[in-house]
Amino acid sequence: MSATTVPPAQTVHDARIPLRGHLRHTGALVRRNLLWIRQDPESMFDAVLFPIVFTLLFVYVFGGSIGQALGGGQEAYVQYIVPGLMAMMGMNMAQGVGTGFNQDFNSGVMDRFRSLPIGRGSVLFAKIAVELVRMLIATTILMVVGVLVGFDITNWPGLLAAVGLSAVFGSALMWIFLTLGVTMKNAQSVQAMGFLVLMPLQFGSSIFAPPQSMPDWLESFTEYNPLSSLADAARGLMVGGPVAHDLWMTLGWTVAITAVMAPVAIHKFRTKD
């Protein structure tokens, strides 16, 4: 190599990575994941179509009957389901991150990343950051569709707070799916596993319908289901009603899940054979 080229990256080989380094690495990896989207715009289909399809489906299929139970009609159900769907959105995006991550692993790129002097979490943080961007896009579309079918935004700060809450809870869940993505053999099993866990959690919650009409055992389950807390907190923030208890429950779950699963995911990532 000619002598005029750039000098070696770093001549002193320090084991510690400064915060700036972590940010630089995560930033570079975020750029990579964003380039993926540019290369493959179809990967945004779920973020774009999911809120449209689900909002229309739930409002027009179940809106009439559940709305009646709520003491109104379809309009009452719109106010109920839109915050619920916002909670659900985080979930589905979180699941996608596991599948994508698993595919990454089967391509050999991860071997290269793991043989580079970067922080253990950078690859995972970048995944989560990009997934949050997708989540925000999906949420924006959800709100637009929601307003079109009659959702009243009365409380803008509350709306923003609900979006923020869904995002932090969603990123906590992503650690679970990242762990699944690292541990399971292929993307299909990650998806199947995610589906098996998510379906009962989503439907056994207050996302789609008020739990009062459910049998006792299911009602108690929904009460402790973190998705109910998130949906109820989002509802309280966006359309009014009691918030504090559900808000604290959601934040508690977020912290607990992250505290347990983030180290597990990072450890699995580093030590995968």
């Binding site: 990256a9 080989h13 071997d111 793991r114």
Partner: protein, 330 residues
């Protein structure tokens, strides 16, 4: 690079059963062995991707277990499969690695341009790596490994699955890198590749080192070359074989007839034997269609070093590499 008593177990299976290895700075160490010999496991441990069960290893002065961060700064890795991001253009692949190696934006850009130029990929810089040919992908992979100007480069079967022309391209690139003073650990299944690139050779089988030494030294031990003689008239094949048998030259193996290609395979140990064989053929007054010398195959190497054949299916590699094994065996 110093490796002492390296052991790696996967449950019951012993992928590495106590490996010692020394590689001097600026040399190319070839690690030759069949599938399941533990070559990939060795590379993965030395490149900090895998923790050993027991034993010690230092690479470029850093302990692979205790100082992985420092070590990662000075190594480059090119795996059996090109580990580039297929969705990203070639340039973006290199730029990303540059940034992850703490180059400034400007430096990373310059380095990406420079390496693309050097590996003749400038024209394809903006195309996704997924659209590259096999050879281009390997070259991009090598380029990515070189971004941080590593002192030590691991090449894990760099040409497995490539056609001969592309293989030569990769060899040329590796030779250039070696000319620049990079220390290389190369694993391969091909004696020819080892001879082309390595100065020293370690032969592995079932997780153990079974022979080591200079290429020439090992070749001498293995028994030199094989002469492939093809008479113009296939009917002369067997009489010629009988005549050569009578000559009494026995190299590594007896004279064999490759009926399918109408050729005779005559192993020879020395230049004198080679000359004697050619003389005997001439004396038979046989018109030849072709005559060439070949290096002993991995099988022959193993047969002579260990007394058993290589490539017998041995489950000493991790389950994850099963698919690699199949592809390589084809």
């Amino acid at each position: 690079m110093t490796v002492r008593g390296l052991v790696k177990h996967y449950g019951e299976t012993k992928a590495l059963a106590g490996v010692d290895l020394d590689v001097r700075e600026g040399t190319v160490m070839g690690v030759l062995g069949p599938n399941g010999a533990g070559k990939t496991t060795l590379v993965r441990i030395l490149s900090t991707l895998l923790a050993p069960t027991a034993g010690q290893a230092t690479v470029a002065g850093y302990d692979v277990v205790r100082q992985p961060r420092q070590l990662r700064r000075v190594i480059g890795l090119t795996g059996q499969y090109a580990s580039v991001d297929e969705k990203l253009p070639g340039w973006e692949n290199l730029y990303l690695i540059g940034r992850l190696l703490d180059l400034s934006r400007k430096e990373a850009r310059a380095r990406a341009d420079e390496l693309l130029e050097r590996f003749s990929l400038t024209d394809a810089a903006r195309r996704p790596a997924g659209t590259y040919s096999g050879g281009m992908r390997r070259r991009l992979d090598l380029a990515a490994s070189m971004i941080g100007r590593p002192a030590v480069l691991f090449l894990d079967e760099p040409t497995t699955g490539l056609d001969p022309r592309t293989r030569n391209e990769v060899w040329d690139e590796v030779k250039r890198l070696v000319g620049e003073g990079v220390t290389v650990l190369l694993t391969t299944q091909y004696m020819e590749e080892a001879e082309q690139l390595a100065s020293e050779l370690t032969v592995m089988d079932r997780g153990k080192v079974i022979a080591r030494g200079g290429i020439e030294e090992l070749k001498a031990r293995v028994g030199g070359r094989t002469l492939r003689i093809r008479p113009a008239d296939p009917l002369r094949l067997r009489p010629l074989a009988a005549a050569l048998d009578e000559l009494g030259i026995t190299g590594l193996a007896p004279v064999t007839v490759d009926a399918e290609r109408a050729a005779l395979l005559v192993p020879v140990l020395s230049d004198e034997q080679l000359t004697a064989v050619v003389g005997a053929v001439t004396a038979q007054d046989v018109t030849l269609a072709s005559i060439s010398t070949e290096l002993p195959s991995l099988d022959e190497v193993f047969l002579s070093l260990t007394g058993h054949r290589a490539g017998e299916p041995l489950d000493t590699e991790p389950a994850g590499s099963a698919e690699h094994r199949e592809e390589v065996a084809a």
